[in-house]
């Protein structure tokens, strides 16, 4: 059967959720090491939503956000987008670069901040894809990361259009990374192409 987001069974959802949880767990561990502090993680939520409702789900189409986009290839292929709200992105660059958090709301990131965020995107998505890989035994290689900071709707349009070729609905994995008392809200939007979905489920022995 060719997989489609429109006919996900509860079992499929559980499998995706489990991969999401392990992936985000790996990502939190990597981030902890990089920032040299404890980062906890909330159990991710996997959501399936209609296109026209997705933006509201993530937090308003005009909200400025940071998006880090990668493609992956190998036994499976697709794209992955990490979305961070601007405040969380600022917090992360401040922690990483040791800066004072002076422009907490500015969406104008310096070159070194962009590099830092791309690197975070790299590490988080590598951890994420690593989870899929070790779970399934499939080989997955990510591309270099691409950065954008703009309206949420505009950034989301990139993976949404890819979903749009096969479905009217999209899949989102939302995870909060918790640093002491503050929450770094991140959304992973994982878009394997549809054949890859079948490959993943087969590799896991799920019909």
């Amino acid at each position: 059967m060719l997989f489609s987001v429109d006919n996900l069974s509860p079992l499929h959802l559980d499998v995706l959720k489990e991969i999401g949880t392990i992936g985000a767990g790996n990502a939190a561990t990597s981030l902890s090491k990089m920032l040299n502090r404890r980062i906890d993680m909330k159990v991710p939520e996997v959501k399936i939503a209609e296109f026209k409702d997705v933006e509201d789900l993530v937090g308003g189409a005009e909200t400025p956000v940071v998006g880090i986009y990668l493609e992956f290839k190998g036994d499976i292929s697709g794209t992955i987008l990490l979305v961070l709200d601007v405040i969380s992105a600022r917090r992360i660059t401040a922690l990483l670069l040791g800066n004072a958090d002076s422009n907490a709301l500015s969406d104008d990131f310096s070159e070194i901040e962009v590099s830092a965020l791309e690197e975070i995107g790299n590490i988080l998505t590598a951890a994420y894809l690593g989870a899929i890989s070790s779970f399934t035994g499939l080989i997955v290689k990510p591309s270099v990361p691409y950065f954008a900071c703009d309206m949420l709707g505009a950034i989301l349009s990139v993976p949404m259009i890819q979903f749009g070729q096969t479905s009217d609905r999209a899949m989102f994995i939302e995870t909060d990374l918790i640093n002491g008392t503050e929450r770094l809200r991140s959304h992973f939007i994982v878009v394997p192409d549809m054949e890859s979905f079948t490959v993943i489920l087969n590799a896991l022995g799920v019909e």
């Binding site: 005009e62 493609e71 691409y146 703009d150 309206m151 949420l152 349009s157 259009i161």
Partner: protein, 162 residues
């Protein structure tokens, strides 16, 4: 206070007389704004893909340039608009991430959406009177039914009145 109607992604709507049609955060998608000045009929679509013909799952007419324009025209003509009077303004079609080298052709989707929209409007004989497309940034657009003005707002790239 004007009535505001939100048009989501892969969505369309029409109004007449007064009110505003708004679509938020256009990226690689294209906003197609049609307007008949005489009847003050306005229609707005937020399309995601160039053509319904290459894709199996194509029930949602608002998702594709070709079917969205057809649907908008149909709805507007039901509201007494005349096709000969309708003009178009288009916005969006950005490339949000700047990819170098090996990136797939998918990444030109913004540009392809714009080209497909221009072609579909040409086939229907609808003139494009204003256009704000391309670039690497998102746009929010508002179409005002009272006068046909299209306001384009961005983050860090100013506001344009088309």
């Amino acid at each position: 206070m004007d009535r505001i109607i939100k048009v989501g992604m892969a969505d369309l709507n029409v109004i007449a007389g007064n009110g505003v049609l708004v679509t938020l955060g256009l990226g690689s998608c294209v906003g197609i704004a049609l307007y008949d000045k005489t009847t003050k009929t306005a229609g707005l679509a937020h399309i995601m893909l160039p053509s319904s013909k290459l894709i199996k799952n194509n029930q949602n007419k608002a998702k594709f340039a070709d079917t969205a324009v057809e649907s908008l025209l149909e709805l507007m003509m039901k509201m007494k608009a005349k096709k000969e009077r309708i003009v178009a303004k288009i916005a969006g079609g950005a490339q949000m991430f700047s990819f170098k080298g090996s990136a797939s052709d998918f990444l030109n989707i913004g540009e392809r959406n714009v080209q497909a929209t221009i072609e579909v409007l040409r086939q229907h004989g609808i003139p494009i009177v204003a256009q704000d497309t391309g670039g690497n940034y998102g746009r929010t657009i508002e179409l005002h039914a009272a006068n046909g003005i299209l306001v384009v707002r961005t983050i860090g790239h100013g506001v344009k009145i088309l």
